[in-house]
């Protein structure tokens, strides 16, 4: 009677809200009633203070003798969200069922309630073995201290699955009582690893001395994974006791334990352990020493810095590399100078640069910049600055490009090329102006090119460079003219015109080539003029190719009609097949009827037929909606092409037009 009232309440209550019209009691998976979805929606839309009504209805389903397994399961899922201690008696009734016991635990375990735990303990005594395993898991998860006696008994069960679950539960519940039970257990061989794992877990819940005792028991065993975990737990519980055992493990033959000990050195705090480990270094083989050095680096205790830094000079490569890595973690700004001072070979210089690049301490950049001023440290400092991407070094490097030593000047230019930004361009150009030696000028030019190419505002950067045009030798002027194409703005164009008019054949050629590589259409008129009237044939050809290139340039912001017109003009000037093919290729980016007609004409020229067919086939798709008749005629002709790609494109266009 009570169940019927509850269900009626739910159906009635929910239906009136227009959200639920199905009977969850009779629900089966895949049911068209979609009761599950309806409940979910209801939970999402109901304010928390109205959950009580839903809980009451769900309790009705859970306790109904007629309700299906699926209906009860869905009710439990909903109770996981809205359930309170009121639902415990109802849900507990499902704990003995092999399938629904888990659904009941979805509610009870997450309630975090003493009453829920009590219900699970009570069910544990009567439940079948398979269900007991799950219940023990939940009681362990809830850390229910009252379950210790029962779990302790079940830990001695003849059923290995139940015993294992009980042992695990004792470990999770933790506390002195659970520890005593675990330590007193004499499980069969198959359960020893489970017992060891549980003891390690339990140790985390105990005060220092009790935890240490439990860990020592595990360490006295033979199961390596648990011994390693016990060593770690011991280090947390009683560092003084752990130190000699860690040292023993590092010298010992148990690989797992040794690796575990290194992990402990890396992770746990305490100066005593650092000191003990430093004392141990000398007694270890190079490989083991390297491992310990890396662990000391990860540990981050500055007390190890001096000893570890000295190992950078080790004759053993493995130790030296480990020391460099460790110092990059332990070191501070003051360490930079020490590291740079050690870089007395190419290999060591590279290692030092790598270490400094990785350093995360404050003021490392400033220390590196300061080191540039010391002759003995300079070479290594430049390498480290590049590796670290240290822009703070740029002012110092700008001074070094004027150094007396040629090798230093070369290194400084290379570093500037890697590190300087557009804000440094003026200072760079001042240095370029004073550079005369040809080889060095090449380094300087490379620097200017690289800095300009990565500038966010290339126009602004080029303006700075252009200011120096009249002050630099002709060789450098040529570089500036080449860089004009990187900028592409009006000032750059004006400068290129200056280069064309300079009367210097080399500068003329560089200006022409810069225009041919121009990034926008502003150079088109100049190029056309040169294509028609440049004195040298080769220059006319370069200009024409540049002009055709711009006509097809997607970033040139030209209309299709403008492109077509430019290409038509270019075709009029083109004498060689190569340029004609370039024009034809450009026409496929200019979708106009005129382009199509031009291509039709070139299809009659055997030397141009293949390119013209392909370009026309590419144009068909773009023009099919604006000029269907012309496109159809061309497509039908192209469908006969020997080139399969062309024929397929034509067929695809015809199919689309016929839709």
């Amino acid at each position: 009677m009570i169940n019927k009232i509850a269900i009626a309440f739910m159906i009635c209550g929910l239906a009136t809200r227009g959200l639920f019209g199905a009977d969850l009691t009779n629900y089966e998976y895949g049911d068209e009633s979609k009761a599950g979805e309806a409940i979910e929606k209801l939970l999402q839309e109901t304010p928390v203070n109205e959950y009580g009504r839903i809980e009451k209805g769900l309790i009705g389903v859970v306790t109904s003798k007629k309700a299906t397994q699926a209906g009860k399961a869905i009710a439990c899922r909903a109770l996981q969200q809205v359930g309170t201690e009121k639902c415990i008696p109802a849900v507990s009734g499902l704990l003995g069922d092999e399938v629904l016991s888990h659904y009941a635990r979805l509610v009870l375990e997450r309630l975090k309630s003493g009453k829920a735990n009590q219900a699970m303990r009570e069910a544990l005594e009567k439940a079948p073995a398979k269900v007991k395993v799950g219940l023990l898991g939940s009681l362990g998860e809830c850390r229910d201290a009252k379950a210790v006696p029962l779990a302790g008994q079940l830990a001695q069960s003849d059923d290995a699955d139940v015993a294992a679950a009980a042992i695990q539960a004792l470990g999770k519940i933790g506390g002195s009582q659970a520890a005593q039970r675990l330590a007193a257990l004499k499980p069969g061989r198959v359960l020893v690893p489970v017992q060891m794992q549980a003891m390690v877990a339990c140790a985390a819940s105990l005060p220092g001395n009790e935890a240490a005792a439990l860990c020592e028991t595990v360490l006295a065993g033979t199961y390596s994974p648990s011994r390693m975990a016990a060593l770690r737990a011991l280090a947390s519980a009683d560092a003084a006791k752990a130190v000699p055992m860690i040292a023993k493990a590092l010298k010992g033959d148990d690989l797992q334990l040794r690796m575990g000990a290194l992990g402990i050195v890396a992770d746990t705090k305490g100066e005593a352990l650092t000191r003990a480990m430093l004392g141990l270094l000398a007694a270890l083989s190079p490989e083991r020493k390297a491992g310990l050095v890396l662990a000391l680096g990860s540990r981050g205790d500055k007390a190890a810095l001096n000893s570890v830094t000295k190992l950078i000079r080790s004759g053993e490569t493995v130790v030296r590399n480990a020391a460099i890595k460790a110092v990059s973690k332990l070191g501070d700004a003051g360490t930079v100078r020490i590291l740079l001072g050690m870089a007395d070979s190419p290999a060591l210089t590279a290692s030092v640069a790598e270490a400094i690049a990785r350093m995360t301490a404050d003021k490392v950049d400033q220390a590196l910049a300061a080191a540039l001023e010391e002759a003995g440290l300079r070479k290594a400092a430049i390498k480290a600055s590049i590796a670290r991407g240290c822009t703070a070094a740029v002012p110092g490097l700008l001074k070094l490009v004027k150094a007396a030593d040629a090798a230093t000047r070369k290194d400084a230019w290379a570093a500037l090329a890697a590190l300087a930004g557009e804000d440094h361009m003026d200072a760079i150009m001042k240095a370029v102006v004073k550079t005369r030696q040809a080889q060095e000028l090449a380094y300087a030019e490379e620097t200017v090119k690289k800095v300009t190419s990565r500038a966010a505002n290339k126009g602004k950067c080029f303006k700075v460079i252009a200011n120096y045009f009249d002050k630099v030798p002709d060789a450098t002027k040529g570089v500036i003219l080449t860089l004009g194409a990187v900028s592409g703005d009006a000032d750059a164009l004006a400068m290129e015109r200056k280069g064309l008019a300079s009367g210097n054949k080399t500068l003329y050629g560089q200006a022409l080539r810069a225009l041919a590589a121009w990034p926008n259409a502003s150079a088109a008129a100049d190029l056309l003029k040169l294509a028609k009237g440049a004195p040298e044939k080769v220059d006319r050809l370069v200009a024409l190719r540049g002009y055709i290139r711009i006509a097809g340039l997607k970033t040139a912001r030209l209309t299709s009609a403008q492109r077509t017109q430019m290409l038509k003009t270019a075709m009029g000037l083109a004498q060689r097949t190569d340029e004609k093919k370039q024009v034809i290729s450009g026409l496929q980016n200019a979708p106009t009827l005129e382009s199509l007609n031009m291509l039709k004409r070139y299809m009659g020229d055997p030397a141009l037929r293949a390119e013209a067919e392909m370009a026309a086939a590419n144009l068909l798709w773009d023009l099919r909606k604006s000029h269907p008749a012309e496109v159809t005629a061309m497509a039908q002709e192209l469908r006969k092409s020997k080139n399969k790609t062309v024929a397929n494109k034509a067929s695809k266009t015809i199919s689309d037009l016929n839709k």
Binding site: D31, D161, V190, V192, M228, V451
Partner: protein, 405 residues
């Protein structure tokens, strides 16, 4: 085929584990190194692949491409997934407990559906194995923390998957952290939607296809339907990623990449947000995470960072990585190479379990926020919602039967 059909009992598993305990842990092989530089077997990492579907096979292929790794065994509850690998000499299992009980396996690759990740990897770590686990790391927040605890307690190397945190998004992170664009204010990432409950009808299991009880594992028992365990990608209802019991949906699947990338760049992948704002609340159009340092992670738009001087963009000459930004070490270019290096060198990988857990947690919190449809407050140290018992119930899910972590 004998092992495939054999049904392991927990008792059998425990027996095998105990046997393993009595043997030395170093691989003892008679094989010598090859002239092509392949190290001798005694120095190779013996790998066990668990979950050999599409992603698991891909990961196994990536890991074994390294000559330091040798595939020793594979495991899948779908019988067909094993055949190709068995032909290549790997021994096949349907129950992962048999595989991890093997003393000669050093490392496992876990490529199963999400609901198995925690159970398999924790069991493996307790048995002394290192782990490469596909993302998303976990099914619940609590599971992820337990994976971290197990890795630390047992001193194991644990790397989660996601080649994209550095691969696709790393240069973006470098730009944002370069200082050129000023301080990071907001990051944007849009992984995809949450999972939903599955109400598919039960069907008869075709013979010799799957061990359904093992496929379900810690998840609630429900009748078999091919779409529950299907491999179809996305939330279309034909693959496991659609369903709440087995996956966190696209939110966790892509979140591993996208939130992983964003949190790496923001430098908050060691912690978590303090507030989560539901879409539409407090002038936030999208789900928004607020971190203690004031940075925001907005679930929307293309992957990117809004900084004081505008959106961060990679620029020529930008150091990769920028100083102070975590990265693969020793020349590794993928999480697979990185984990192998780390197993050899015994150090934590770039996608160490703690970082992966923090990223997965952000995904799970997002799913919880979508489910409860309200703003939430989160304590990233205690890893619990503040003043919200209902949300805290969703931090974990009780596991079925013998599956406890």
């Amino acid at each position: 085929m004998e092992t495939r059909k054999a049904r392991i009992t927990r008792r059998g598993f425990l027996k095998a584990t105990a046997a393993a305990a009595a043997l030395p842990t170093i691989i003892t092989s008679k094989a010598l190194g090859a002239a092509d530089g392949t190290p001798p077997a005694s120095e190779r990492i013996a790998l066990g692949g668990i979950g050999m579907g599409g992603q698991g096979s891909g990961d196994t292929g990536q890991l074994t491409r390294d000559r330091r790794v040798e595939l020793a065994a594979v495991c899948d509850v779908k019988y067909s997934a094993l055949q190709a690998w068995e032909k290549r000499g790997a021994r096949g299992y349907t129950d992962y407990r048999e595989l991890i009980a093997r003393d000669d396996i050093d490392m496992i690759m876990c490529g199963t559906p999400d609901h198995w990740h925690a159970q398999i990897t924790i069991d493996a770590m307790k048995a002394g194995k290192d782990v490469f686990c596909e993302k998303p790391l976990s099914l619940t927040i609590r599971e992820g923390r337990k994976m971290v605890e197990a890795a630390r307690a047992y001193g194991r190397i644990f790397s989660c998957g996601s080649q994209r945190v550095i691969g696709d998004y790393g240069r973006l992170a470098c730009a944002a952290r370069s200082g050129r664009f000023g301080k990071i204010l907001e990051a944007y990432a849009a992984p995809g939607g949450p999972p939903r409950m599955c109400y598919l009808p039960g069907q008869v299991i075709p013979p010799n296809t799957i061990n359904w009880d093992l496929w379900l594992g810690p998840a609630p028992w429900v009748p078999y339907h091919p779409f529950r365990c299907g491999r179809a990608y996305g939330l279309g209802g034909k693959g496991f990623r659609t369903w709440y019991d087995y996956s966190g949906g696209m939110m966790t699947d892509w979140g591993g990449h996208k939130f992983g990338g964003a949190m790496h760049g923001m430098g908050v992948d060691h912690t978590g947000p303090t507030e989560i704002i539901y879409p539409g609340n407090r002038d936030c159009k999208h789900l928004t995470y607020v971190f203690a340092n004031g940075m925001r992670l907005v679930v929307g738009g293309g992957q990117g960072y809004k900084c004081e001087k505008g959106m961060a963009k990679p620029f020529a000459g930008m150091p990769v990585p920028v100083p102070g930004l975590r990265w693969y070490e020793n020349g590794a270019r993928s999480p697979h190479q990185d984990v192998i290096n780390c197993v050899v060198e015994r150090r934590r990988p770039f996608r160490d379990v703690e970082y992966a857990h923090r990223v997965a947690t952000v995904c799970h919190i997002g799913n919880i926020c979508y489910r409860l449809k309200r703003d939430l407050k989160w304590d990233p140290d205690k890893e619990e919602f503040i003043g919200d018992a209902e949300a805290n119930r969703l931090v974990d899910r009780p596991r079925r039967g013998p599956w406890q972590i």
